[in-house]
Amino acid sequence: MMTSKTMLCRCEDVSVSDVHKAWEAGYCTIEEIKRYTGFGTGTCQGKECLALIASTLVQLGTPADAVQAFTTRSPLAPTPLKFFAADRRDDDK
């Protein structure tokens, strides 16, 4: 069973009402809403939610040309940390 929720970000369980609350609290840009709600910080890193939340902001009245994507962070896909551990170069001590 599940209660009625409309999810925008499934990784971090951020719903439409969370984004509306953030908007009402004065957080109106994608970077601000990301920091307030945590959307886009889960395992998919925004692949599933960024565009949906951008559309929500446009619906709330932000002009489309003012909507900016958040900064992308590496790694862009889930990567085992062992690869980075093995990425020592010869000149690394």
Binding site: L50, A51, T79, F83
Partner: protein
């Protein structure tokens, strides 16, 4: 609906169906859910899911095997412990994380079945179907605002944090220390193409010149990207394209993901590099020109309980059908309308599915119904606002996919928000030039265009990139 009976698929069937139904061994498809379409398959094997043996075939992903075994819930979400399972089947949505042979948080859709693999669901107690932690969903039925969950007492805060940290998080640590990993390597090439879908394959073919080194990396289990999920193209079409790419001398690196692009040490002598990983090692690729053909991510739309297992992307349904030859379900509610969704609808009906198409001009979906998986879609008439229930086992979402522009953005290429293009699209001209010299983009990453136009754009961008590389 004609029954799929007889030794050969009738000529009246579309080419794509005749290619997926084998010449012999085309059996009567019984009305069950979901189902493999024929018995001429690779080697049979068995995987274990939470102690239950599951029949699978070589070449199937864990996600495909779990889906066809009628197992919708594979894990629970981070905060409210809502059920999670298949959505995009493309390695992007991360809804399908499972623990495989003691390694946590692996994407079930990106892991091939191996005989004897032990697959475990994550984030639930005592079982993924009956998770006591799902009580959080009910306790916070109107949502949990974590900004107001602070307590006044610092001691109580500390105690609460310990409990919360124990309850949340993703999976548990691996059983053992990681295997030895191979040291990272370097690779230099003239043109690096990122993405092996319609745009990328065409770009790589168009970029190839005598004595030039073209490298194409693609994340998927098999090359072809969205072509493998689209009944208008399918696996035969991909095979021809791949043959063409190989005969042009393109180095095709499948199951290889571009995870970062940077310039180390800000040193002009130290060139910019794209970091890719496969299952064995990390590789730093230095390219004279880069073509971003990363395509687009399947998206969900907003409606009540849109995260319920059984709500899947159109490309996931297409992949089940074309790539794995699995009928996704008996009764399907198709939401959204496009040329691609029309083609999928026809193919689904051909394999015996009952498809209800939600006509976006007349009605819209407002909720999914069911328990741990979908049992119905609730649709509302736009004019009368009357709601009705469409019983179904899958809700297939055919909305505009969103450009996969992260890597291009890391490389400095400008993007803009395009509602029609599905999200943040890379700015590129007709010949594929982005706003950064030596960086090219084509296809859905510049705003969703679909495979046909993506292939044309790929040819232009591939030629431009080859010209640029030659001048370096």
């Amino acid at each position: 609906m004609p029954p799929l009976l007889g030794s050969t698929p009738p000529d009246s069937y579309p080419q794509i169906l005749r290619s997926i139904l084998p010449p012999l061994g085309c059996f009567l498809v019984s009305r069950g859910v979901p189902q493999r379409l024929h018995f001429v398959r690779n080697k049979a094997l068995t995987i274990d899911f939470d102690g239950r043996p599951i029949r699978a075939f070589e070449g199937e992903s864990i996600a495909a095997a779990l889906h066809v075994a009628g197992q919708p819930v594979w894990g629970r979400s981070l905060k409210y412990h809502r059920p999670r399972g298949l959505f995009c089947m493309d390695g992007h949505c991360s809804g399908c994380l499972v623990r495989i042979d003691g390694v946590p948080n692996l994407r079930a859709c990106m892991q091939p079945c191996r005989d004897g693999s032990r697959v475990e669901s994550q984030n639930s107690f005592p079982s993924v179907e009956t998770d006591l932690m799902a009580a959080v969903d009910f306790l916070f039925a109107k949502g949990m605002n974590h900004h107001t969950l602070m307590t006044g007492s610092s001691l109580l805060n500390k105690a609460t944090q310990r409990v919360v940290r124990h309850l949340s998080g993703l999976g548990e640590l691996p059983n053992s220390i990681a295997d030895t990993v191979e040291k990272s390597t370097m690779l230099a090439c003239d043109v690096l193409v990122i993405g092996g879908g319609p745009a990328g394959l065409q770009a790589a073919i168009a970029a190839s010149r005598p004595d030039s080194k073209i490298v194409l990396v693609d994340e998927g289990l098999a090359l072809g990207g969205s072509l493998r999920t689209d009944p208008r193209y399918g696996t035969d079409f991909v095979r021809d394209l791949l043959d063409q790419a190989r005969s042009c001398g393109v180095t095709l690196l499948s199951q290889t993901t571009a995870i970062a692009h940077f310039c180390e040490n800000d040193d002009p002598v130290d060139p910019e590099q794209t970091i890719v990983t496969d299952s064995k090692r990390l590789t730093r690729i230095v390219a004279k020109a880069t073509v971003h053909a990363t395509g687009s991510y399947a998206q969900n739309i907003a409606f009540e309980n849109n995260d319920r297992p059984g709500v899947i992307a159109m490309r996931a349904a297409g992949r089940l059908l074309l790539d794995y030859q699995i009928r996704p379900a008996q009764s399907i509610c198709l939401v959204g309308h496009s040329d691609a969704s029309d083609a999928l609808r026809t193919t689904l009906i051909d394999v015996g599915c009952d498809v209800y198409q939600v006509d976006p001009t007349k009605e819209r979906i407002v909720a999914s119904k069911g328990h741990s998986s979908v049992s119905a879609a609730i649709v509302q008439d736009i004019d009368s606002e009357l709601q009705r229930e469409i019983p179904c086992q899958l809700i297939v979402i055919a909305t505009t996919p969103s450009p996969a522009s992260e890597l291009a953005r890391q490389q400095g290429a400008a993007t803009y928000f395009s509602a029609d293009g599905g999200g943040f699209a890379v700015q590129a001209d007709a010949r594929g030039h982005s706003t950064v010299r030596g960086v090219f983009a084509c296809g859905d990453v510049c705003g969703y265009v679909g495979p046909k136009r993506a292939m044309q754009a790929g040819q232009h961008a591939g030629r431009s990139a080859a010209d640029y590389a030659e001048g370096q």
